[in-house]
Symmetry: C2
Subunit: 266 residues, 2 copies
Amino acid sequence: MRTVRAEIAYDGSRFFGWQRQDGFHSVQAAVENGLAALHDQVVLIHGSGRTDTGVHALRQVAHWQTDTRLDDGRLRLALNAHLEDGVVVRRLETCRPDFHARFDARAKRYLYVVSTALFRPPFGAQYVHWVPRALDLTNMRAAANVLVGEHDFAAFGNTPTVRRASTVRNVHGIRWIVRRERFALVVQGNGFLYNMVRNIAGTLIDVGIGKLTVDDVRGALLSGRREETGMCAPAGGLYLLRALYGERLFGGRDRGPHGVPGTFQD
Amino acid sequence: MRTVRAEIAYDGSRFFGWQRQDGFHSVQAAVENGLAALHDQVVLIHGSGRTDTGVHALRQVAHWQTDTRLDDGRLRLALNAHLEDGVVVRRLETCRPDFHARFDARAKRYLYVVSTALFRPPFGAQYVHWVPRALDLTNMRAAANVLVGEHDFAAFGNTPTVRRASTVRNVHGIRWIVRRERFALVVQGNGFLYNMVRNIAGTLIDVGIGKLTVDDVRGALLSGRREETGMCAPAGGLYLLRALYGERLFGGRDRGPHGVPGTFQD
């Protein structure tokens, strides 16, 4: 028996989110089905965290136990041959036996992609958020900088009726990368509240179109009031770039992957 | 009453081809429905030609008559506002009253996109043909050159039981453009037989993987036998780049559009 760690890319528009749920077609179930076909027995996998319906991933990390005699390279090939369209294992390696994709994750890095094209993109509308407006990049960058560091992000989370858990998170870095009419937001933090990245994206877009100011964002961060921030930007623009396990720091140049128009990965 | 000419982009994976057919959702019907909503009356449009289910277009040309009081710019905006996801009017202008998108077309230019990535592209699998093989570009280019000029392309058409019409066509130019693992075939001709571009793409790919030789392609062109050429490559990799009306020559640099990963348009 050994533990393997895999990096998995998926097209969120084809699945009802990462997590296995009865009656819904999830990424986790798709991978577990592929493993079951390969191993002739049930295999459960553990992801670094959930992603919602419509949210994509370039390097979601998952681990599982296996007693297969296939080496890592062959296991990856065989598993990919059993996976359906829209999900692929990009990397797979045997790791230390006690590695845990969720509990060992130190940080997450996300990407949010906006198209400011005059017309709705005819191709891949499910991969970007279309905002046919002029965006003020200077203000969007200033507002993004306000969020860097350890803060109470209550204003950027969902709104639970009872707040049980801490809403303090540490955002390691945020930046906007612009190429022609594509605006890509890359954000890394030690963890994110539910919908936090989409709320940040929506808020920064509101700053870009002049609906909110940089001071409004500063004020919302202090007040913790969700109603002072912008809309929750749609799921299709969001990508989990990777879960980080201490082996990498924020700052490497994110390059555009094939197939995700004008977006960036590491 | 005036005649307008429009350049229309669409995601072929969302439609049952260009042409209106009862019971199927076509691009033509989508545009006509948008125009009907706008004009409060039936408007029929004429495209430069059909595209099959799954085949995309970057600049399909169509014309129609209208008595709207909107100028061209406002008409384009209003029409786009009435169109569903996956189809957009990129350009619209009043043209000479007797312009006909089909009868006046002098040439067509197509693009065929192949991905040779090791793994199936997780995003946008409906926009490329995945061939995880090493392709011999030198041979593919040599075989492509064989096809340039006026030839009987019977071996690259469908196989009608009775040949009524001429299968002679003039291919103005073909070229392969390669960027990392993307191979893009651009081909222009005065007209194409049914499935001809997809048959050319499939045949050149077979040359690329060594299943056919350049001489085989030369032989098939002479024999006119469909069984001597390669498979019909899948529809998802094919894009109608534009219909040409004498105003442009082959040779301009094709640039990559947003949203079609690694592909090229003019």
